[in-house]
Amino acid sequence: MEILKTQKVVKQFENHRALSEVSISVEEGTVFGLLGPNGAGKTTLIRIINQITAPDSGEVFLFNEKLKPEHIKDIGYLPEERGLYKKMKVGEQAMYFAQLKGMTKNDAKAKLKSLFEKFEVNEWWNKKVEELSKGMQQKVQFITTIVHQPKLLIFDEPFSGFDPINADVLKNEILALKKNGASIIFSTHNMASVEEVCDNIALINKSNKILDGKVADIKNQFKSNVFEIIFDGNFNKFEASLSADYEIVENAQVNATSILKVKILNDLSTNDLLSRMLQFGKVISFNEVVPSMHDIFIKAVNGN
């Protein structure tokens, strides 16, 4: 089921267009990656979903209803520009944010206590925020984002400011939230994390959506029929036998072992290449080269 849908959303600022007819759709219980270079319009779209600004035209639907003020409590938003009141105590502050999201005092307290326990930050409850390190503050901020158990979570660069260990804790928590039924919009420049957590993505560049779909589908779409082969045998004879249908993209020799990247130019089957190689030696490994999200991002943005 679709939890969030934007339909041809347009936002025009004084001197530039932030979004032109952007339509995205987020399935329930999935992690949706919202990608794009700096200034592409991601933050504007996220702000529209959070009702911080209104679109000039186009519509946004949450649970198939037009976006309305009551939806605020169903969304948890961790903005890229985030912070806490420095002079306030951690616990008081978390309580304040939870209540602003519509939780009652008792609910907020109970839920926060259990989350503080889970993230091992219990002893910070009565500390002032300014006494905490940046990473600790990020942890508290994350807790305040998820405390009201929203159905839709929006994380803008959630990993910035975390060390690798805590980043892992966070990643696992995001996956756990997804497992418990939450839907997540995830905006980041860290492509490795996109591959690890996202089910679907949309790529926005210069206010336009240029790419969207399932991560696996997009990867297939960007495959270039290149195979990485490790081969023990007579490379020269093998090379000589190749027809114009093949191209050797890379070639490295270590003693008698060759590490090759071969591109199949025509619609030939991989079996043909394999059987050809077996005549000249032993094939140790044979893999299709799947493009990384990093490569896809660069290719799509530059090609646009």
């Binding site: 702000r47 911080i52 912070g83 806490l84 009141y85 420095k86 304040y96 602003l100």
Partner: protein, 436 residues
Amino acid sequence: MNKIPLILKREYLTRVKKKSFLIMTIVGPILMAALMIAPIWFAMMDDNEKKAISIYDKTGKYVSAFDNTENISYRFLTENNAEKRKDEFKKSGDYAMLSILDTLSNEFVLYSEKTPDFEIKQKLTEKLERFLEEQNYRKLGINKATLDSAKVSVHIQPKTLTADGEKDSSAELPLAIGFIAAIIIYMFIFMYGVQVMRGVIEEKVNRVVEVLISSVKPFQLMAGKIIGIALVALTQFLLWAILTGIIVGVVSLIFGLNSMPQEQDLSQLQNMSSGELDGIMGNSQIAGIVFGLMNFNWLAMITTFIFFFIGGYLLYASLFAAIGSAVDNETDTQQFMLPVTVPLILAFVAAQGIIKNPDGSLAFWMSIIPFTSPIIMPVRVAMGRYEIWELVLSVGLLVGAFLATVWLAAKIYKVGILMYGKKVSYKELWKWLRYK
């Protein structure tokens, strides 16, 4: 759901719990009480100092003129050699030496090591004058008792003629009350208006604001902050008023400075004529103040004060909030602060002139225009120099103006709080006003 109370509560509690608030609450009344008590205190301290005066009376006729009092004691010297006498005086450590060389002349010399105290000189002059006057009465055959009984003391009681008949009034007291009201309103608008601005900048600098406005509307955030800080201001004001009263009361009790009649006395005094009062108080000025306090229109004054206190604060605080939202740090506020603070300062300066001429056209216009009326109108009301229609117009315009500024400020605020790293100009602000 309305989240303003939640925001208001946070704004209020975080400020009231601050150490600086506590310190201000304690230091403020102490300073104010000190201002009220210090003059009396100093006067008393001086009185307690004991001084000895040497007197050389060549004529030998002035002995009866100098009786020792609690604070000044007199000692007669007999040395006839002038130089030796001066040495004797120096050794004695006495405060001063009065030298009388001529019989019943008006020329006297007062020697001392430092310039003599004005008060001592005054007292000696009085004693000598009285002594010589009495000698003259005797010489001229005038009976002192007859002369005393012919003396009169006059007290003018100002009365205003109103629709309800005539009323006792006092000219000085309303003036003082009006001016104090103007000072308080001016001070609180400034102090707490700037606090609103700082609060907005703090949220912007700490980057809390985007998290907040994903939960609440920018208008609610602004309104909660302004009202929360207004309550802090009122709390502070009340605490000051109460604590000042307590401190003045306690100090008066301990040191017996009965500068103000107690409340029970007041009701008694109400039934007396001003003449009788004169007799009791022995001071027509105090009688005037007491009458003024009893007859002053407190209800009108307090209502007006509270309304213009709150109205003026809301008007200016919303402008300060807009300024805070448009900048990234406090140093950038200068260019926007100026046009906001100029009318406020102007009104305060003008208030001092308006006290002298509360019916003039300057007084009229400044008490009508919303940006100056919060300071000027209470002055005119205190002095009782206003027409009802003027007050109604002033109140109406202030309400209208503050709704308009809140609306404008909310628009600027909404755009401004999410705008970083941009030096904002007036042209830019104008654009923001037209955003959806």
